[in-house]
Symmetry: C2
Subunit: 256 residues, 2 copies
């Protein structure tokens, strides 16, 4: 028996079920097993781990063929995973993969990323989970090389004894010759000039989210930022326990 072939893999993303990135990821995963997709019905960028609590959500089966089931969902990326695991899938998946995201999720973007929201939700459910992002925001981005890396990385993860309480944030540079894969820490980025003020035809202000990312660190050779800038795929293992354990003593003294 080919154990790879028997894997069940859940896919989602935050760019929507009809995006090029998820099509590339589906193609990359199909040789690995039975593919189950639950993805938003449109773009849900920057939604992090958000869930829909004030209105109900719906899901619709849009494709069903041997080893490939595709649902579209009106909710957030994390809603898609919760609905897949609790309501739609006949069995628990062996792996959850998200993406391939149109644009980088390096550094602190792990907090805002719907792609990484999916991976965090997978980790919270004790399932090996990976978010894949291509460092290219263009609608014409070519996902073929990123898809190859998604396949290589997912194969390895399916074979390993994946540690509990973590997920992987994988970013793939958009260059011709990738040098390899580096395991990194999250770099210290800072967003600046984020909301651009404009004036509507009636004279009132409104604001568009935009901004640029700054990297204040000088010593950053072990970061995702450095790996990507130097031609490597970056993989950051991310914890779901966000406790600053090293600060417990400081605050315990403060509140004695």
């Amino acid at each position: 028996m080919n154990t790879e072939k028997s894997s069940t893999i859940l896919l989602s993303n935050d760019d929507g079920v009809f995006s090029e990135g998820i099509k590339a990821l589906i193609n990359a995963m199909r040789p690995l097993g039975n593919i189950f997709v639950v993805a938003p019905d449109g773009g849900r960028s920057g939604m992090g781990c958000s869930v829909t609590s004030q209105i109900p959500v719906r899901a619709q089966l849009i494709q069903s063929e041997p080893n490939l089931t595709v649902y579209t969902c009106t909710g957030t990326p994390v809603d898609c995973i919760k609905l897949a695991l609790g309501n739609l899938m006949p069995q628990k998946p062996d792996l959850i993969v998200a993406g391939i995201n149109h644009g980088s999720n390096e550094s602190i973007n792990v907090h805002y990323s719907g792609t990484m929201g999916i991976a965090i939700e997978g980790a919270l459910n004790k399932i090996p989970s990976i978010g894949f992002s291509l460092c290219n925001y263009s609608p014409e981005a070519d996902f073929s090389q990123a898809a190859q890396y998604a396949n290589i990385i997912s194969r390895k993860i399916l074979k390993m004894n994946f540690p509990a309480g973590i997920c992987l944030n994988v970013n793939i540079p958009d260059i011709q010759h990738i040098k390899g894969i580096k395991i990194c820490r999250q770099s210290n980025g800072v967003w600046s000039e984020e909301f651009e003020q404009r004036t509507d035809p009636h004279g009132f202000a409104y604001y568009w989210l935009t901004g640029t990312m700054q990297y204040p660190e000088k010593e950053y050779i072990d970061t995702d930022k450095y790996a990507l800038a130097n031609g490597y795929v970056s993989i950051v293992p991310c914890k779901i326990d966000v406790t600053a354990h090293e600060q417990i003593e400081t605050f315990s003294r403060l509140f004695l």
Copy 2:
């Protein structure tokens, strides 16, 4: 000069600018200095660190008096903080406080909580930040005791040299006699049975987010869950660097 009186404090929440929790928090903070509020125009529960990228957001000044400025905003809790820091406030605040949330944000809810999204956004901007939540989901919840703790904790935080890269997740039990404050780690909760399926009048399925939290840990005396269950206010210091540093070697070997 009274240094406390000269503090500038930014407030926001995820229950909306007209909720009882933020009114209690404004009252608790007013003795500490100059208060600047930018809060959503309605409920934004479960929005985590999400940002609004596909439509513009607006803000409206609804109250302006000595030492108290209040804006309402059409965006997410994190949008409110970004807009406050980048566009609306004349100066950087000394402290950011979120809440008081209607309901607990203990354990893994840090990932879904808009209240904690605010605190994480503050930490990303290198500002001491605290999310306050009352463990009572009732619309009639009494925030007065929680507000007293918010005042006590914020006073201490304003006086200390707050560590970089962290924020605080404070949960306050809804009991008459609180025993004190405990600094804790995040407990390992797991949500189960999250989406409840219903059928609409036309025969189609839809799903409401609900569910219950399970706590699988046996040894949990050092967790927020334990502190709250035993009559203490819990404070979890939370990191914005989510790298699982202890896993870097394992994955480096895997991808050699």
